[in-house]
């Protein structure tokens, strides 16, 4: 059996040292062709200077690693490039580099940052580090294989020291955070949510006056979510069945918009479409139900309004509890990591009626706008026009 494709979901949050406007930590996440790269750096000191050091570190490291340069060159470049602190006469910032490939291979390198938390089946598991000396710096490296359900969580030392000398004598401490994480991490919680919880908890331990910049970066390894969306019948009606069959063969959740389109799919599946009038609002027509299809909606109005929602909202939690077609459609789009869109451009003669509002003709444009919003969120979008 072939392995289920993985997706690496990233989240990050930070809070500034009390009284500072700029954060002296920097977190960067970037997508590489075959995975994700996360870099966390803590700059020397705080405020503007620390912010510049940390930002330069994450930017330089990200760019060089994206180009496939080895760690030695990255570290040498950082040492040669970072500006020297006038007071301390050193160019210094810490870093954690986390490279996770889509097949689950993880490469981790740390310099002077707290060890990364690796959670497997809900428990913090020990990483086997090897030391490596580059120039005058001692770097810890680790390789590990991650599976769906695993988490990698990296923090700046502001997190470990939270509450030091105040609520907690010695600060929050790595082992205590590890125990806390084991109670917070489960399948349905997002990477962003976990990052936010950790930062909020640190802020509370600091009694709202953080003694240091505090940053958390989270990578959640989970099965990749696929979605397939079909709207509009193909221009050539003789293509209907072939397009419908290809659509039904796609992986993941199936979403169909438009009465005629739903009819074509119903014919192929030999199922009935029923309408659930209880989901009707005065703006959005009700949704339909069909066995084998996860969501059936009306076409142009539902899609135009789903576009309006996606222009305002990017967090799926903000739509929880809403049952109208547009909110459900937006939810499907936000949920999926990879979406196939089949856009059929057959003209419905009723939509050419000059007495109808202009937006009736905007279906294709709305679908294309949705596709580009989803792409800008980092999702894979494949748009086929028929």
């Amino acid at each position: 059996m072939s392995q289920q494709p993985l997706y690496i979901e990233a989240g990050g949050a930070s809070v500034c040292k009390y009284g500072e406007i700029l954060c002296g930590d920097s977190l960067s996440v970037s997508s590489m062709g075959d995975g994700k790269l996360m870099v966390l750096s803590d700059g020397l000191g705080s405020g503007v200077k620390a912010n510049i050091l940390a930002t330069l570190t994450t930017k330089i490291a990200t760019r060089l690693l994206e180009r496939g340069l080895p760690l030695e060159e990255v570290v040498e470049t950082l040492t040669d490039t970072l500006p020297e602190c006038k007071v301390r006469k050193i160019a210094y910032s810490t870093f954690t580099l986390l490279k996770v490939k889509d097949d689950g291979r993880v490469y981790l390198a740390e310099f002077d940052n707290p060890p990364t938390f690796f959670l497997k089946r809900g428990y913090v598991s020990q990483l086997h580090y090897k030391d490596k000396v580059i120039g005058s710096r001692k770097i810890r490296e680790a390789h590990v294989h991650a599976e769906a359900g695993d988490w990698l969580i990296t923090v700046s030392d502001g997190e470990i020291h939270a509450g030091i000398g105040g609520l907690l004598n010695l600060g929050w401490d790595w082992d205590k955070i590890a125990k806390f994480l084991e109670t917070q991490v489960y399948e349905d919680v997002s990477a962003q949510k976990v990052a936010q919880i950790l930062v909020d908890q640190a802020r509370q331990l600091y009694e709202d006056r953080p003694g240091d910049d505090t940053t958390v970066g989270v990578l959640k390894i989970r099965p990749k979510r696929f979605g397939a969306f079909m709207i509009g019948p193909p221009v050539r009606s003789e293509d209907d069945l072939e397009v419908a069959k290809r659509f039904l063969d796609l992986p993941g959740r199936k979403i169909v918009s438009g009465g005629t389109t739903a009819g074509i799919i119903a014919k192929v599946l030999e199922k009935d479409v029923t309408v659930d009038l209880s989901t009707m609002t005065n703006k959005i027509p009700p949704i339909g139900r069909m066995e084998g299809i996860d969501l059936v909606t009306e076409g142009v109005h539902t899609v135009n309004h789903a576009l309006e929602i996606l222009q305002k909202i990017s967090d799926v939690d903000e739509l929880s509890g809403l049952r109208d077609g547009s909110s459900l459609l937006a939810k499907e789009f936000l949920f999926a990591d990879c979406i196939y869109i089949f856009l059929g451009q057959a003209i419905n003669p009723a939509h050419l009626n000059p007495n109808l509002p202009q937006e009736m003709g905007f279906k294709s444009r709305s679908v294309q706008s949705i596709a580009s919003i989803l792409k800008s969120m980092g999702k894979e979008v494949i748009l086929e026009i028929h």
Partner: protein, 81 residues
């Protein structure tokens, strides 16, 4: 039991199927026919240019306003039951 099916597809939605469905809901209630007439929705009846399409059992009607729907309800439901 007679079944009223109102189209809620794009064109019919724009022409007011939402109001027409609400009219039928109220009218059925007022006449005390909740258990004698069924109200359903449907996506497309392939007659998109002709107004809000609705079926009473298998017979197709078009209503371009709540008033027209009221007339249809009077003739086809109230007078026949």
């Amino acid at each position: 039991m007679p079944v009223i099916t109102v189209c809620v597809g794009s064109a019919c939605h724009l022409k007011g199927s939402h109001d027409i469905i609400n009219f039928f809901k109220d009218a059925i209630k007022e006449a005390g026919l909740e258990n004698k007439v069924e109200l359903k929705g449907s996506f497309c009846m392939d007659k998109c240019t002709e107004g809000v399409n609705l079926l009473i059992d298998d017979e197709l009607f078009h209503a371009n306003s709540v008033d027209e729907a009221r007339g249809i309800f009077q003739r086809e439901i109230l007078e026949k039951i």
